[in-house]
């Protein structure tokens, strides 16, 4: 997994609540059997005016210039700013894959849907929760002519920016360590293989029907 230590970059404000994973990456692209290639279809329905299909040349599609992602100011954005319940809907991990591949390393929101939140960490994307007031203030800071730049520091769990903006975010210690060190979670879990085997042996005895071979 990709490490995340700190990120300083341009913030792209996406002023909506309940941004669902069908919007983040529409289903037609889920037919891919690969982990890559989704960045160009991030927010596909909002970003392009013509309908998209996998395999087409997306660079020749018509851009929706009213959608913020197509504003020249945000071409290098690496931090996404949103509101409540970001990433709701389906469990598709293609959503964080698309967000990362486009170049975002962190998403700031008031709240996240659970599965999206979880999936992000597995891929080195940092989803971080700030309060409604802090997010309001950040949105207000993005209305100027120049793009807003922020620094997200995972070790100190802080977001800092111009005008003395400084906010702290919570993150659970296991996820923090995995991100900071870019750890392979499966490898970590397999270190406890003996505990898994012991649990299995006990349960096979207590509830044998749960281990019935369904072949």
């Amino acid at each position: 997994m990709q490490q995340f230590i700190a990120e300083t970059g341009v913030v792209m404000p996406l002023d909506r609540s309940n941004v669902d994973t069908d919007q983040i990456i529409p289903k037609q692209y889920l037919k891919s059997i690969k982990r890559t290639g989704f960045g160009v279809n991030l927010f596909d329905d909002w970003r392009y005016l013509d309908p998209g299909e996998p395999g087409m040349d997306h660079s020749s599609r018509r851009l929706n210039t009213e959608f913020i992602m197509n504003d020249p100011k945000y071409q290098t954005a690496s931090i996404l700013l949103a509101r409540e319940n970001f990433g709701c809907g389906s469990s598709r991990e293609h959503a964080p894959w698309a967000i990362m591949e486009h170049g975002f390393r962190a998403v700031i929101a008031v709240s996240f849907a659970d599965i999206f939140y979880n999936n992000s960490f597995k891929n080195g994307l940092l989803p971080l929760v700030l309060t409604g007031a802090e997010v309001d203030r950040l949105f207000a800071m993005t209305t100027g002519d120049a793009a807003l730049e922020l620094t997200v520091d995972l070790a100190t769990q802080t977001v800092s920016g111009p005008d003395g903006f400084e906010a702290r975010f919570e993150i659970d210690p296991f996820r923090k360590t995995c991100l900071l060190e870019g750890l392979d979670e499966i490898g970590l879990s397999l270190k406890d293989a003996d505990a898994i085997r012991a649990y299995e042996a006990k349960r096979r005895h207590e509830t044998p029907w749960m281990f019935q071979n369904i072949g």
Binding site: K27, D45, N85, S111, A195, W209
Partner: protein
């Protein structure tokens, strides 16, 4: 010490170890797989040189991409090459590793959340996961079931465990009795309308009360299915005699002495009377009306006798903006009566409402009537091959066909339109599925979530009507 909730009991009985940092390793009894969220997991497993921990915990099916016509022709007949490759990839991965899979032409194949319970692969007291958010469905059996991402699919394959953190306990009590003609779908849509799409975030929701207990297992599955639309990964209903009766005799259900032991254990899978929940919500089930969603997320819903909300009457600018955007997308006006919404297509299917009882409810309304001339297409897509043959044995297919519905092969179909079944831009659809997000059923398509009976009535009338008038 206070008693335990059902969720507490399920969590404790699956705890392999608790780490100091607050995370835990929990054991997974049943892992369901489908073609969309698994290929990258199988690839990751192979790249790391790992093998599945326990093959017999896995059961795979194809559902999202499959065409709903002529499935007997098998994977080679899928017209779309990318869909075909994805379905083929699951077949290949399962064959290579020895994972049990119901392939396309297998009569047991169907939507992953329909076939698990149908086969008895989902049992009370189990942990059940799948790379699909509607895995919450299986919680109707008193199982701890939730959706996972592809990295977690790989993790479960490799370790039979998940790294997890305990969720909060929430109980939604629906008092009863439910009104005449009110279905499980109306109950869950009304709940989401009340608590919102993030109302259950971070929680395992136990659905309780007379309004839930009175539902059949099919109905409870419909309710738990949409827990995720209320923000909760987990929905639960306590085990009772209906649960046990449903499971008995299913192919993978325990038999003989195991059955008796299992039943004794399952009977303990209820929240203790003195259990304490972090959040409690009460819903008056007697007041619930048939529901219709008007917007672009499932909390944008109201009763059939209601109206589309008028954004001008909303003070909060963020809510107002969201409603304005939704109405623009949906092509609706504030204040418009729900019954005035005209439909172009009708879809009866999806893991929410494609079981035999759903089809019976719809057929009862349709019987002897004709689909309105103004409807371009009305389709019924059974949840599995077995649901399909059961419905045919009961003559339901004939009722639908004579009324002008299409009778299809099983799959996800127009619930998410990954196959050929989709809405055209701007078309309104009465759909028994679970998500009305923008573009969900086809780019520019407009989804209205309803029960099977309401969808059936809308197909006949050409617009929404209060189905209770026809009962």
């Amino acid at each position: 010490m206070a008693g335990q909730t059902l969720y507490d009991k399920l969590w404790d009985s699956h705890l392999v170890l608790q780490r100091d940092d607050g995370s835990a390793l929990i054991y997974i009894d049943r892992h369901l797989l489908h073609e969309v969220t698994s290929p990258q997991a199988f690839e990751g497993l192979a790249l790391a040189g790992r093998t599945p921990w326990r093959l017999d915990a896995n059961l795979a099916t194809v559902d999202h991409n499959v065409p709903t016509e002529n499935q007997a022709a098998g994977v080679g007949a899928i017209a779309d090459p990318t869909s075909r490759l994805q379905v083929q990839t699951l077949d290949d991965n399962c064959d290579a590793l020895g994972i049990t899979q119901f392939k396309m032409a297998d009569p047991r194949a169907g939507i992953v959340h329909v076939i698990g319970p149908e086969q008895g692969a989902t049992l009370p007291g189990m942990t059940v996961v799948c790379g699909d958010s509607h895995t919450a469905t299986h919680g109707a059996f008193g199982a701890l079931a939730h959706g996972i991402g592809t990295s977690e699919v790989e993790h479960v394959l490799a370790t039979q465990c998940l790294v997890a953190k305990k969720m909060k306990n929430m109980r939604i009590t629906v008092t009863g009795p439910l009104g005449f003609g009110i279905t499980a779908k109306d109950v869950i849509l009304a709940i989401i309308g009340q608590i919102g799409t993030a109302g259950g975030t971070g929680c395992a929701i136990e659905f309780a009360g007379e309004g839930i207990q009175s539902l059949s297992m099919e109905g409870r599955m419909t309710v738990c299915n949409m827990a995720i639309e209320a923000g909760a990964r987990v929905g639960l209903v306590a085990v009772d005699e209906k649960t046990i009766a449903y499971v008995e005799g299913r192919p993978y259900a325990p038999k003989g002495a195991d059955w008796d032991r299992a039943v004794a254990y399952w009977s303990t899978l209820v929240s203790d009377a003195d259990a304490v929940f972090d959040h409690e919500v009460a819903i008056d089930g007697t007041l619930i009306e048939p529901q219709v969603s008007w917007g672009t997320n499932p909390e944008m819903v109201t009763g059939i006798n209601g109206q589309v909300p008028d954004p001008a009457s909303i003070d909060d600018p963020i809510t107002r903006g969201a409603i304005e955007r939704a109405l623009k997308y949906m092509g609706l006006r504030g204040g418009q009566p729900i019954s005035a919404i005209r439909l172009d297509r009708v879809f009866i299917g999806s893991c929410t409402n494609s079981r035999i009882e759903d089809l019976r409810e719809a057929a009862k309304i349709v019987n002897g009537k004709r689909v309105s001339d103004s409807i371009l297409q009305a389709m019924v897509v059974p949840g599995s091959g077995l649901v399909k043959s059961q419905a045919e044995a009961e003559g339901l297919d004939q009722i639908f066909l004579e009324a002008g519905f299409e009778w299809r092969d099983p799959g996800c179909s127009m619930c998410l339109a990954m196959n050929a079944d989709k809405l055209g831009a701007g078309e309104h659809c009465a759909s028994t599925s679970n998500r009305n997000f923008e573009g969900r059923q086809g780019a520019g398509g407009r989804t209205h979530l309803v029960s099977p009976a309401m969808a059936a009535a809308a197909a006949i009338a050409g617009h929404f009507i209060d189905v209770r008038e026809w009962m």
